[in-house]
Assembly symmetry: none
Homo-oligomer: 305 residues x 5
C-alpha cells in the first residue's frame, strides 16, 4: 500500500524510532475510514475500571460485553480500540487482526481514596502477545506521585520502543496543588501535552482545554506573546504547537456523555484547530449501538471532510 | 473425555489464553460431582492463617490436620481445594492427582494492625512443583495499598499464564474510604468483580452482595438503568454481568458459619441468579466431618439440579 | 477421586519427585478406559516427521489432519496422545483438557543421512504452554552421538521435573557397532530400558524384544542366570525387571502396521509378561477410523481384562 | 543407619520436600544424645547480636569466644547449634561435621528503634558453603513490617528447599497492636506457630505460652471448644496441634536465664505436652561451662526419659 | 560428635575447601562401621549402566531392585553408596539420611563403539536435591577425549565445591595409545591418581595396580629411585604417595567378581600398603544378599583391625 504524503510526513517526525515502532504508528494512520488522512478516531473503554460497571455500562447494558466494543470500533471504522488487559484478553483472539489494539497499561478504580496514581495492570509483553500496536499509559501531572508515574512510564516506554511498539500517553493534570478548573486550563493542558512529548510519547491524549489560565506566570507569558485562546480552535491550536510544534500526534478526549450535536460541534472546533483526532468512549458506548455508530461516523465524517 | 457443550462454551471465553491455561480451567470444570455442568464448588482453607487456628478449627478440632481438608474436598466431590503454601505442602505428595489444587499466593494474619494488604507467601513455581491447576490471590479494592496489590497480581498473573496455570482472584473490597456496609454493597461488589476481570482473572470470587449501595453515582446509574437488586438472585445476576457480561467465572463465598438450611437457601438464590458456584470454607469444616460432607453435598446438589 | 491401590503403588515408586510430577503421572494413570488399572495405551503420531507424510498417512489420507489424531485418541479411550510441536499446536487449543498430551521434544526426519541423533524441536516451556502432562524424548543407545543425546536429555529432564512434568523416554538402540537384528535383541532392549531408567525416565518406551542376543557376554550371563526368553511374555518380563525391578513404567511400541489379530496376539503376550501397556501409532491410524478405533479398543480390552 | 519408627514417622510428614531436605531433617533427628527419639535440644547463640555482648556474655566471660559454643553444643550432646553468619564462620572449619549447624539468616540489634523487622544477614549459599543443615529465620507476627518479613522468608524458603536444606522459623509475635502480655498469650503463640507452618517451615520455634488470651474472639472460640490451657503442658499441647495437628516439629525457647530446677521443671511440662524439644541459649551459656553442660544434659535427660 | 585424631588429620589436608565441603568429607569418614578410622568402604552400583543389567544383575536377580543396594550398603555398615541419577532417585526419598550418597555424574554404556568418554547424566543441583554428600566423575586418562572430560570435571568440581559438596574421581586409564596391560600398570595408575589430585579431587578411586610398567621413562625413574613394586602393598603405597604424598584419600576398586578369600587377601594387601579403603560393587552384589553382606563385613573387618 502506497502511503499518502500526509502519512509520510507524520511518520517522518519519528525518525529516531526503530522501523518496528514506525510501522505501528503507520498502522494507526492507515486503518479505518480515516486511513491516509493523518487523522484518528479511537474508541477507548476503560471506564468500567475507572468508574465502575454500573456508572459506565448502566446507560447501555449491552456494553457490559467486551465483544460489544471490538465490534463497535470495527463497524464504525475507527482507527483503533483501547482497553485494559482483561477486556482485550476477552476478545483479542476472536477479533485478532481486525482492528489495531492499544493496551492501557495502568488503571485506577474509584473505590480507594489514594493520591492520584494508577496501578500498572499490564505489561509490554502482554501487548505483544495480544497483538497490540501500542501501549497506553495515564499520567497525572500535578500529582504528588508524579515521579512514580513518570519513572514507570519511562521504563515501559523504553521497553515498548525496543520491542517495536508505539506509546500513547493519556495526560490528565490533577493533584493537590491545582484547582478543579485548573485541570482543563489552557496553560495546564498545553503544559501536560509538552511533558508527554518530552517523556517520549508518540501520541498524546488530552482534554479539550478551557480558556481558564491556572498559573499567573503563564498568564503573563501568554498575553505578552499574543497567543489567542478565545475559541476552542485557538486553544487546540496552541496545545498542538506545545507538543513539539505539531510534530507529535495530539488527540482529544470527548469527556462525559452529551448530545450528538454538541459532540459534533466540539469536534469541528478541534479539527479546525489542527487537532489530530478524537478518542471517544462514553459518548460512543453509553448510547444504543445504532446511536453510537451514528455518532462515531459523524465524528469521523468531520475529520474526513 | 468429550466435553459437554456448556464446558466448551465456557472455555471459548478464554481464547486469548494458551492451551495450557485452558486445560487447567477445563480440569476445574470436569472434576468432582459437578463435572461438566459448568458449576463449581471449591473448598478453601486459609482461615487458620487469616483468623488464627483457634477461631478456625476450634469448632471442629479434627480440622487442625491438613489431611482432613484434602479428604473432605475429595470425598464431598468438590471441584478443587485451595490453601496456602504450608497446608498444600503437607498433603500434596500424599494426595497427588486426586483433586485439583489452588495455591493461595497471598495471605494476611489478624495479628497486625496494618493497611489491608496480604503478604505474598508463595510463588508460581511453587504452584507448578506442587501440581496445582491455579494460583489464588486476594485483592482489597479500596485499600490504600491497592496499587501494590494490583501490580503484584499483574506480575504473578503474567507468569502464571505463561506457565499454563489458571488465575483465581479473591476480591474483597475494604479500606479507609469505605463503610463497613459498603464492603458488601451491590455496587461495590460488582465493581470489584469487574476490576478482577480487567486484571485478567479467569475465576473471580466475591461475597454475596447486599442491597446496600455505597456510591451515590452508582445509585443514580442503577436506578436509571432499572436494574433490579431486591433479591440475592437479582444481585448475583448483576455481579455476573459486571464480570464481562457473564464471560468470566464468578463464584461466591459462604461467609461465617451458619445453619445448613440457611446455607442451602442462599446457594439456591446464587444458583437462580446465574452464579457459577460457591467456595465454602468455614461452613464446610466448622462442623463434624459427617455434617460437613452432608452440607457440601447438599450445596453441590443445588448446583447440579 | 480416590485412587486404586495399584495406582497408589505405582505412584509410590516416584517418591523423589515433587508432587507436581507425581500429579502428572497420576493423570496418565487415571484417564481413559484403562483409568485405575495401572495400564496405559498411548497414541503417538510422529511418523509424519520420522518417515514422511506419504509413507505415514498414505494408507489413510484422513490422517493428514492433526485433529484426526486428537479425536482418535479421545474416542478410543486412550490414556494420552503424543506428538511433535506442530501437531500439538494445531489441536491443543481446540481439544484442551480432553486428553493428556505428551510433547515429543526431539525428532528426526529420513531425509538426511546422519549418525542417529534427533533434533530438539520443542522445549519444556512449550509443554507447559500447550498443557502437556509429559515431555517425550528419543535416545539411540549405540549411536556415536549417544553423549549428545544423554546430555541434552539430562538438561530437559531436570527442567521438566522442576516444573512438575513427567518424562517419557523412547529408547531405540541403533548405531554403527550394532547389527540390525541387535536393535531388538533381548539383551540390547533390556539394556536400553535400564539406561533410560538410570537417566531418570518415569515412563520408558521400548520395542517388543526378540529372542536374538547381541552381546556374547550378555548371552553367557543370561544362560547362567537361567532367565527364560523363549516367548515374548518371557522377554517382556525381563525388560520390565531391567527397569528397576518393575519400579518404572515400561510400555511397548507396536511397530509396523499389521493385521488386527496379530496385534492383539502380541498385546496379550506383553500383558501376560507384565508390560505396563502399549504405544501404538501406525497400527492405529494407518487404517480407516472405524478400524483404528476397533483395534485400539481391542488392545485396551486386553489390558483391562 | 536404620532409623527408629518415630524418626520415620516424622520424616513421612515432609513428603512434598525433596530427599535432600528430608536428609537434613533426618540429620537433626539422628544426632546427639537424643538421636532417634524424635526430640531435639538445640543451642542457639544469637544473643550477642540481639542484646549486645555485655548483656549476653557478661555473666560468663568465656562465652565471648565463638569456639566455646561449638564445644558446648557438641559436648552436651545437642542435636544442633544455631548462630548468625559471623559466629558460624568463626568455627565452621574447625568443627566441620561435628554437629549440625543452623545459619540464622536474619538478626536484629538493640541499638536502633525500628519497627520490629530483622535484617537479612546471611544467605542460603552461605549455609551451603558453611555446611549447615538448615537456615533459621525470625518472624514477628504483629509487626507493621510483617509483609516484608513473610515475603523475604518465602524467597529464602523456596531457595533453601530447592537446594536441599531445612527451614527453621523463630516465631515471636510482637508489634504495635499487641500488648506485652499478648506476645506470649496462648492464642497468639498458637497463631504464630500456625502461620509459620503455613509459610512452609519444617521446624517452628515458639516461646512457652502463658494462660493469657489476647484476642476476644479467640477467647470465645477456646472456651466453646473446651480446650484446656491451665497448665503449660496443656498449652504446649495446643500449640503443637495448631501446627498442622502435630505434623510439624515445634520446639520451645528457654527464655531469660533462671535456676536449673526451674528450667528442668518447665522442660518436663513441655515434654508432657508433646513438645518436640527445646532451644536453650542464655540458660546454657550464661553459666560456667560445667553448669551449662550439666543443665543441658539434664534437659536432654528429660526428653530422653 | 567429637572426632578421632585420624579424622581430624585427614580433614586438615583440605584446608582450602569451605567448611561445607569439609563437612561432607567428615560425613564419609564418620559413618558406618569404619566411622572414625579414616578408612572407607563404599558400595558403587553403576554396572547396570556400564555393562548392562544382564551381565550386572544376572548373577543375583534381586539386585535389579534399586532398594536392594541402599539396604545392602546400610546393613553392611558401608561409609557410602554411589550410583547414577535414576537409581538414586528410585530410593533417595525412602532411605533419606540413612547413608551418605554419591551421585555418579557421568556414565557410559557398552552399546556404542565410541572413544572412551562418558556422558554427563546428572548435575550438582541433582546431588543437592537428592541429599548427596559428593559427586562422582569418571575420567579416562589416555583417551583422545581427555580434554573434554578434564574440562567438564573442572566445571562440575568448581560448582560442587562452591555448594559445599565433596568430589570423588574414578580414574580409569584407557585409550588408543595404551596397551590393555598398561591400563593397570603401576606407573600409569599412579599417574592417573596424581592427575586426579591435580584436578581437585578430594577422593580418588583407582584400580589395584599391577607390576607392569607401561612407559619406558617411568621404568627408568622407578628403578633409579629404588621404589619397590613387587607386592600389591608396595604398589598401593606408591599410588597413595603419588596422590600428594598421601594427603588425598585414595581408594581401590574391587574389579570383576571373585571368591571371598581372594577378595579379602587383596584387601589385606591394600590395607597394608596404606590404602584408604575400597569401593566394591560386583563382588558385593553379584552374590546372594547373605554372601554379599558377609563379604562386605569381612572387608570392613580388615580395615577396622
Amino acid at each position: 500500500m502506497a502511503f499518502t504524503d500526509r502519512v509520510k510526513q507524520i511518520l517522518s517526525w519519528y525518525g529516531s524510532d526503530n522501523p518496528g515502532t514506525v510501522t505501528q504508528i503507520a498502522r494507526l494512520l492507515t486503518t479505518g475510514t480515516l486511513a491516509g488522512t493523518g487523522k484518528l478516531v479511537i474508541l477507548p473503554v476503560d471506564q468500567g475500571f475507572e468508574h465502575g460497571p454500573l456508572r459506565s455500562f448502566g446507560p447501555n447494558l449491552d456494553a457490559h460485553d467486551p465483544d460489544y466494543h471490538f465490534r463497535l470500533a470495527i463497524d464504525a471504522g475507527c482507527n483503533a480500540y483501547a482497553a485494559p488487559l482483561g477486556a482485550l484478553e476477552a476478545g483479542a483472539a476472536k477479533f485478532a487482526g481486525q482492528i489495531p489494539l492499544i493496551l492501557k497499561l495502568n488503571n485506577s478504580d474509584s473505590l480507594s481514596d489514594v493520591e492520584p496514581c494508577s496501578a500498572i495492570t499490564g505489561s509490554v509483553d502482554d501487548a505483544l502477545r495480544l497483538g497490540c500496536v501500542a501501549i497506553g499509559y495515564t499520567i497525572y501531572p500535578g500529582s504528588g506521585l508524579r515521579n512514580t508515574q513518570y519513572q514507570d512510564l519511562r521504563e515501559l516506554t523504553a521497553e515498548a520502543k525496543a520491542k517495536g511498539l508505539c506509546v500513547i500517553v493519556w495526560a490528565y493534570p490533577r493533584g493537590k496543588g491545582m484547582s478543579k478548573e485548573g485541570e482543563t486550563a489552557i496553560d495546564v493542558v498545553a503544559y501536560a501535552a509538552h511533558v508527554s512529548a518530552q517523556l517520549g510519547a508518540h501520541v498524546i491524549k488530552i482534554k479539550p482545554p478551557t480558556a481558564h489560565i491556572e498559573q499567573p506566570e503563564a498568564k503573563k507569558a501568554l498575553e505578552k506573546a499574543g497567543i489567542p485562546i478565545a475559541t476552542l480552535s485557538d486553544r487546540v491550536r496552541y496545545c498542538v504547537r506545545a507538543a513539539f510544534d505539531g510534530k507529535r500526534i495530539v488527540i482529544f478526549s470527548g469527556g462525559a456523555a452529551k448530545g450528538t450535536d454538541e459532540v459534533v460541534a466540539e469536534i469541528k472546533e478541534i479539527n479546525a484547530g489542527g487537532g489530530f483526532g478524537s478518542i471517544l468512549g462514553r459518548n460512543a458506548f453509553q448510547r444504543s449501538r445504532a446511536d453510537g455508530l451514528d455518532l462515531l461516523r459523524k465524528v469521523i465524517g468531520v475529520y474526513k471532510a
